[in-house]
């Protein structure tokens, strides 16, 4: 994928437009021009789709809402809403089914290489029957312009609801997200860009779809042995025989220094992803990253929801990102994590403690619940405590110990969602 991908770093709020549903509002002049240019340049597209509005922009693409003009001439297995609406429609209505069908058209920038486009489309094709993953309806090319056609999902902007979600809502959100991740990970695919804007969630239906596989890759791509995949004993052995261990032995000074003109090659690892959502091993350039990086990102979303802070991490760059994580987990754990990947972390920054903070404490602090007027310490409620316990399993610095999507779906915290859901149904019946 070339160097470009290596350096890919997305802004946590970038593409936030993608979740805005202003499609029926008045269209801006610039957007209208843009759409007109697109229609002109892409021969024949107007026969198949009618562009309605621009709904999002990403690093490598623009997404438009469009009406699917040829809907009725094709098999539309992808349309999850259709069977239900048809069920209730009278035959005459069905015939008149001139209700517009919407799709999302993803215009992949012509400056993207065919390999990159191939990668994304091929992975999507592979995932075509995966639960909670946005299906690919079709894709086609005119000269250098490639477009992918995806279902248009009604969803709400994360920023509209992240502060109002109850623990019950959170369970449902993650059950949906982990369902998507389980199917993606079962295919040994890393999504690499898990964040709220890539998970189009509809709180009313408690259903979401995972989108944007632009940075996704197959596990094992360009793997080079990393210390983290060794047995614990071998790893310790490797560490105790490292150059660092020797230096430590022969050095009397505590001052760290680094070479000024470093001619060594830099460690290379795919670090694509969004700032603030990347796992420690991504930041530390682990050369054997696996699907668990996505689980960390999911953990960041959960932290966001529990602390009601978005974005939770600021992370102007990788260093900031790692230090922000260090602020939470503490120096000791981050040092161990660095060693895990064959690296030494040295830092004398006074703000980070050895042991870090508990997630419970951070959640309390972020939600303004520390001490009340009487000075009594406040506590999380029981549901939140369960959530925090679960959060530890996601924000686990050792990827080998981090919970998998499959395990997460069987975790009590998520399983509880089913019970609660059933309760609701019962209530409805009673009414």
């Amino acid at each position: 994928m070339g160097e470009h991908l290596f350096e890919e770093s997305r802004d946590p709020l970038e593409e936030s437009g993608a979740t805005m549903d202003s499609s029926d509002e008045e269209i801006e002049e610039t957007v209208a021009e843009d759409m007109a240019r697109f229609e002109d340049s892409f021969v024949g597209i107007t026969k198949r789709y009618r562009l309605i509005n621009r709904i999002g922009e990403g690093t490598f693409s623009t997404v438009y809402k469009a009406e699917d003009l040829e809907y009725s001439s094709f098999d539309n297995k992808w349309d999850v809403d259709e069977p239900e609406t048809r069920k209730w429609a009278s035959p005459s209505q069905k015939r008149r089914s001139r209700r517009p069908h919407y799709v999302a058209i993803k215009k992949i920038y012509v400056t993207s290489s065919p390999i990159r486009i191939f990668n994304e489309l091929e992975l999507l094709h592979d995932l075509r029957s995966s639960d909670s993953v946005c299906p690919l309806i079709t894709a086609f090319r005119h000269q250098d312009q490639v477009v992918a056609v995806l279902p248009y999902f009604q969803h709400r902007d994360f920023r509209d609801y992240y502060r109002d979600m109850s623990i019950g809502d959170i369970r449902l959100y993650f059950r949906s997200l982990f369902t998507a991740l389980r199917s993606v990970h079962a295919k040994k695919i890393l999504h690499r860009d898990i964040k709220p804007t890539n998970f189009l969630y509809n709180p009313q239906l408690a259903r979401g779809v995972l989108v944007d596989f632009g940075l996704a890759e197959r596990q094992g791509t360009d793997w080079v042995q990393c210390n983290c995949t060794l047995q614990a004993e071998d790893r310790r052995y490797r560490i105790s025989h490292s150059v660092y261990a020797q230096t430590l032995q022969s050095t009397t000074s505590q001052h760290s220094s680094y070479p000024k003109n470093d001619t060594r090659s830099s460690r290379r690892a795919n670090r694509a992803g969004t700032r603030g959502f990347r796992a420690p091993e991504v930041l530390l350039k682990c050369t054997q990253q696996n699907t668990s990086i996505d689980m960390w990102s999911a953990g960041v979303i959960l932290l966001t929801l529990l602390s009601r802070r978005f974005p939770f991490f600021h992370s102007a760059d990788d260093i900031d990102a790692l230090l922000e994580i260090t602020a939470i987990v503490g120096k000791k754990k981050m040092k161990d994590t660095a060693f895990l990947h064959g690296q030494v972390l040295e830092s004398n920054i006074p703000s980070y403690t050895e042991g870090g903070h508990t997630l419970e404490k951070i959640i309390l602090w972020c939600t303004g619940r520390t001490k009340d007027e009487t000075g009594a310490k406040k506590e999380l409620d029981d549901d939140e405590k369960d959530a925090a316990k679960f959060l530890y399993r996601l924000l686990e610095c050792d990827p080998a110990k981090r919970i998998t999507a499959d395990e997460a779906l069987r975790h009590p915290f998520i399983l509880q969602a089913l019970d609660e859901g059933e309760d609701e149904d019962v209530d409805l019946m009673d009414m």
Partner: protein, 618 residues
Amino acid sequence: MAAVSIPPSPHIASMNTRRVPLANLQNATNSPLRASHVGGKRQRSHASEQRDIAYGQPPSKKLAIEVDDAESRRNGLGRRSGAPPNAFQKKLEAAREVKAVPKRSEQVQQAVTANLDNIRQWQRHYRKMFPEFVFYFESIPEDVRSKVSRQAQLLGAREVKFFSREATHVITTRPIPAELESSSSTTTSSTQAKGTVNPAQLETKKSVFDTALQKSGHGDILYKARELRMKIWSAEKLQRMLSAMFNTETGEQVTDAPTRRGAGGLQSKLGRQADLQTLLQNEKINGPLDRDYSVANQDLIQLRGYYVYIHDMDEVTRPVMVREYPKVAKKEEGKWPQFRASGAGKCPFVDDPHHVRRAQQELEEKARVERVQTTRATVVPRTRAAAALAERRALGENNNLARRLSMNDQPSQQIDAKPLDPPKVVPTKRSNTDGMPPMFGSAQASIRAMPRFAGGEPVASGIQPSNITSAIRSQMISSTAAAPGARVGNSKEVNQLKRKVFEKNSAPSTNSNHSMNEMRVALNQEPTQATRAAKRKAQETLGYIHEDEDEEKAVRRPALIRRRNTKEKELKPGYCENCREKFNDFDEHVVSRKHRKFANTQDNWDVLDKLLIQLERE
């Protein structure tokens, strides 16, 4: 990506380990080696690194340092310092003899091999033991302690800061008290250490421990340790053990060295004869082994401030992260990421002065309301101000969370005054060691430049420019702009350089994001407002951050932007993966002959087309 799997050529390997003093690298920047291994982009960033570094490293030190370095090297290898040889030097000497007398080598080799076998066995034994050791350091100088402790931790041992029965070993520099009648000898023999306290014993040991502590007759820790049957080792002994543990002459390390390790791979081929070379190589990487690190080195940059330094434990690859922050009186003033006072919903790592001010106001308001309501003894409803206050209390209660000056003794003018303070020209050394230049078309480029300049003004240290539209502002607040000045400390020149980059190429291909566009336009309109721009520039030169004094202008601007949006064609700079080149304008590039040629060459699309056939709608 593929480069990773290619083992470094011997040539590169030697490059890896060589750190010649800069004086010997006569044209470091344009030597052919550099050119071939270091991309053009990297060079640029090197230049900038050096520029930053120059502030902290006065060039006058060069000479003295070089002399010193040479001296210490000689001392290290030749042992002419008159100091008694230490263990390492002896080993080195031994290794050297082996090499120097190859004729006799067979015999010597055998002896050496036997000896190494012993050492290896011993190492294996203790490698198993160490993870169970818990050290308590007593009467040991801090620098020795920290070093020894770190080494012991590498082997899996732990350190306890306070003396307790948890400890298995007490390390001291004081004379070791005689054995108690019943305890076995632990002080002299290093090879037959009998392991640690039986964990089962530990369970029932509480009373023993307590009684030991209660016996005030012998208040000394060492006596207590004796009574608790802990092992007491002299610091010197532990150091000796550690040095033996980390001894790599046994060659074990080489046999299963990872293939990534260029040097390691090389060594295994050359076999044991390469021991001296190994040592020398390591020395080249790490510097002479007995070098005085307190003297700054020409080719090593010492981290003197607060820093984070993450480097390869085998020093094969470049450090993954190095960043140094200037020392500050209070850690809350540090520019590194830390928890800061911020309002609900906001990123907790970003200082939010508005939040503090608002909290202050609401607090006053609340106080007034309360004064009115004092007679009513009702539970005070939870207000935002109360929440803010609670947060602040939390910050106060925990030193680890950053906090601004207590606002009770520092009224809000403290906060208001801050934006007017001239930005400090403290050179912050910051170098992403990847040396990647900001990429066009990558989000990185926009992230770094964008937030700092909006409407042509630097944005720093949590200050939000007040003369841009609210849309822009909200975008910036919620994204990276209101950063607590992670970038503060850049000199004016650097800022101006960055600003030029931003003005020309600011927008990555991605950001037709609405507010970004507006920002760009806001920038573009600077020339037309020459006088204002000039004035602002003058203010910047004086080190002031421009705050728009005129509210009305701020209101009028959005209209201006809207009109311009439709009239002026914006440039969309970016990077084309297909042509492998940067461009200033997307629309211009995609119709260029080069790009069209790529687009119309069927070969480029064959693979993708095969997939697209499968994706046809059915």
